[in-house]
């Protein structure tokens, strides 16, 4: 028998075997189309989401930033997962001092008391008398700033150097224990420093364009 296959041959008879063969080919073809379509649809859906997101973003922000939203989403998911997994320790937030208020205070001290001038000057060459004269200017000005913008109060009314007693439940943030700290409250000890606290303050407001970094403008007399 000769089993060589002649590919040019066309089936001459239409028997069941050939019907089955043709059916299988059609079926496989269909499956391929379905799989390809499914793949296409899923890709298209993903794109649609992206487009919607981008549109939303661009509606909020004028310059459209395409890749950012995806990253954000990922981040959010991660955070949520974290919290779900470990809810116990709260993050410690340290208060950050606002630089504006600090600079403003320096500005006031310079304006009223020539504070920066005094501190930045090399005083080694001057006599104590000369420094004393300047110190008056600084002291008077600083007092003025303190009186105008801060209300000060002493924390402990007792006489410095006298023996005082701290009751149970004293405020540890306003009274600091030093030295031989043992035993239980009430504590008895010597008042070393009466302490200071600000009970009220009132710093000037600043206009939006004001540059607080200018502590003292250069002066030019015409």
């Amino acid at each position: 028998m000769n089993y060589s296959i002649d590919l040019t041959l066309k089936p001459t008879t239409f028997d069941l075997w050939h019907v089955c063969l043709a059916g299988t080919v059609v079926l496989l073809g269909l499956i391929l189309i379905v799989v390809l379509l499914a793949g296409l649809v899923s890709v298209a859906r993903g794109k649609k989401k992206l487009i919607v997101e981008t549109l939303k973003q661009s509606a909020l922000l004028v310059p459209p930033k395409a890749p950012e939203p995806e990253v954000k989403i990922v981040e959010k998911i991660v955070e949520v997962e974290k919290i779900v997994q470990a809810p116990a320790p709260e993050p410690i937030v340290l208060k950050e001092a606002t630089p504006d208020a600090a600079l403003q205070l320096l500005n006031l001290l310079q304006k009223e008391a020539r504070f920066i001038d005094f501190v930045m000057e090399n005083i080694t060459a001057y006599s104590d008398a000369d420094i004393g004269v300047a110190a008056r200017v600084v002291h008077e000005g600083c007092t003025k700033v303190m009186e105008e913008h801060f209300k000060l109060a002493v924390i402990h009314e007792g006489q410095e150097g006298a023996t005082v007693t701290l009751p149970k439940g004293f405020d540890a943030s306003s009274i600091r224990l030093i030295g031989n700290i043992v035993g239980e409250a009430p504590f008895t000890g010597v008042l070393v420093h009466k302490g200071w606290q600000v009970t009220d303050m009132n710093l000037p407001k600043l206009t939006s364009g004001h540059n607080v970094k200018i502590l003292a403008p250069a002066e030019v007399e015409l």
Partner: protein
Amino acid sequence: MSNLFGHSGSNNGGEGHGQNTSEPESSGNATDNTPDTETGNSDQSQTGNTSGPHYSVGIDLGTTHCVLSYVDLSTSDEDSYHQDVMAIPQLSSPGTVEDLLQLPSFLYQAHALELAEGATSLPWTAKPPFLVGEIARNLGSKTPIRLVSSAKSWLCHAGVDCKAAILPAEAPEEVERVSPFQATVAYLQHIRDAWANKHPGEPLSEQDVTITVPASFDPAARELTVEAARSVGLEKAILLEEPQSALYSWIEKSQGEWRKQVQIGDIILVIDIGGGTTDLSLIAVTQQDGNLELTRVAVGDHILLGGDNMDLALAYTVKAKLEQDGRRLEAWQIQALMHGCREAKEKIFSQTELDTIPLVVPNRGSSLIGGALRTELTREEVERVLVEGFLPRVASADRPIVRPRSGLRTAGLPYAQDAAITRHLAAFLAKQLSSTDELSDVKLPEHATFIHPSAVLFNGGVLKAEALAGRLMEVLNSWLTAEQAPEARLLEGADLDLAVARGAAYYGFVRKGKGVRIKGGTAASYYVGIESAMPAVPGMPPEIEALCIAPFGMEEGTEAVLPDDEFGLVIGEPVRFRFFSSNNRREDKAGDRLEYWTGDELDELDEIEITLPEEGRKAGEVVPVHLTSAVTEVGTLELHAVSRQDGKRWKVEFEVRAGEES
């Protein structure tokens, strides 16, 4: 400078309303708000906030400082009375806004390139029309040519057109000038906007506003003050004399105890020494139907002499001392010295154990320790210069020294030539000897050469100094004992810095019928000059007679008509009259003609002017008119010419100071 606290609670109130530019509220559309310029509204204020004003606001429009105080009318009655002084937001230096109890009455005309963009914005406006308040004073201390100060003193300066742009007087050509009137408007506008910022929804134009003026303000200056208030929308603002206001404040502070501190027959002398002016008034205590009554019987002249003169005097004393050591001082050093002297003076007066206060004027450069100028101010100097210089022990017969003005004097304010306040006081008391003649409750001894005050009320920050207040009382009492009169006592408990504003706010409350009211009326009698019918004498000006048109003490809301004195006025042509005032001719009635008077009886004010518009008549036609005078409820004097024929009225203008004579 006063401490800011105690009012900081209200500081945050206005922050959210940053963009509230608050245009002037014209009361034109106030249909549901009855224009209540007068009494009879006490019921209204009780019914709620919608009808009638919510607050009574007092504005002390001072020569050097403005203060605003207010009373909540809805919660106040005679038992519970709530009064506050409003901290006024203002620029203190470029870019910083502070709430201060006082608004310095200074205006600074900055150069276009001087300040950075946005450095002058206020909580209610990004660019205020003028820089006023602390910033003006601060910038002006280094650039005086651009600083407008003492605008108020210019308002009653005869011979100056107050609406002409003349300030700063000494500025070079290119500096834009403002008129004294404009400066006053600028201060009021700032106060109005500051109020709107702190009290959103309750504009100042809808509150009862009382503005204080010196008792010595002439009718034109009062009118200008009212006009300034009107121009910023304060249509209902009324005037009150400052010494009266100080007394109101004292009455309010005494919480009813004042009735025990004064008796019938007392004459209260109010001495108000402010930053730039000294004002004197006499108020008599009388009785009416068993109730105590207060009557303002006399006011003094406008004396341009105050606390600033004292600081300057000290600075020049120190300068002289330094120049003896061969050191020459520059202008900025004198300025700094004056500042230092002010603080040193306050310390010496308040701390009796101090005998010397070191004064240091630091170098202007960044090196603080090198070139500082150091000197001392001693107690002896302060007492010699201030106590002996300003309050010398003089006799009651002494009078202020008047030097003839030198011809080269530059145009400026007529500052008092004699710095001795005690001599001005002696002159005032002697001049007012007969001021209480009509009051049966007040009795003066026959031999009295001056009026004998029995109580004294002080006002003004200068008199916080024990040494000055004590000396003033000592001198006054030495005069009284010399005439065997009992010593005058000092009325205690006055708030010397803020009393005028507080008293003005209390006055708004009193006007609701809730307390004792000081009877006042016009502070002077007024006259127009009329050429007498006499044959002309070559080389001699025609004789002039003074026709009294408003008597002394003419009360608010009254009118005086002079039907017998007829004038022919020419249509379309302005007619001017010479105008006089007198603060010691009490007996003159409206219509009296004076042929002769002594120099210190009548003071000549600026001329007044009547212009009859054509209004259907022919130009050149002569209309017979007579004059009427009226004191308005606001507290200003109004003169009208009334036509004989049809009763038509034309207003007589005070403000005719336009530059002809200057």
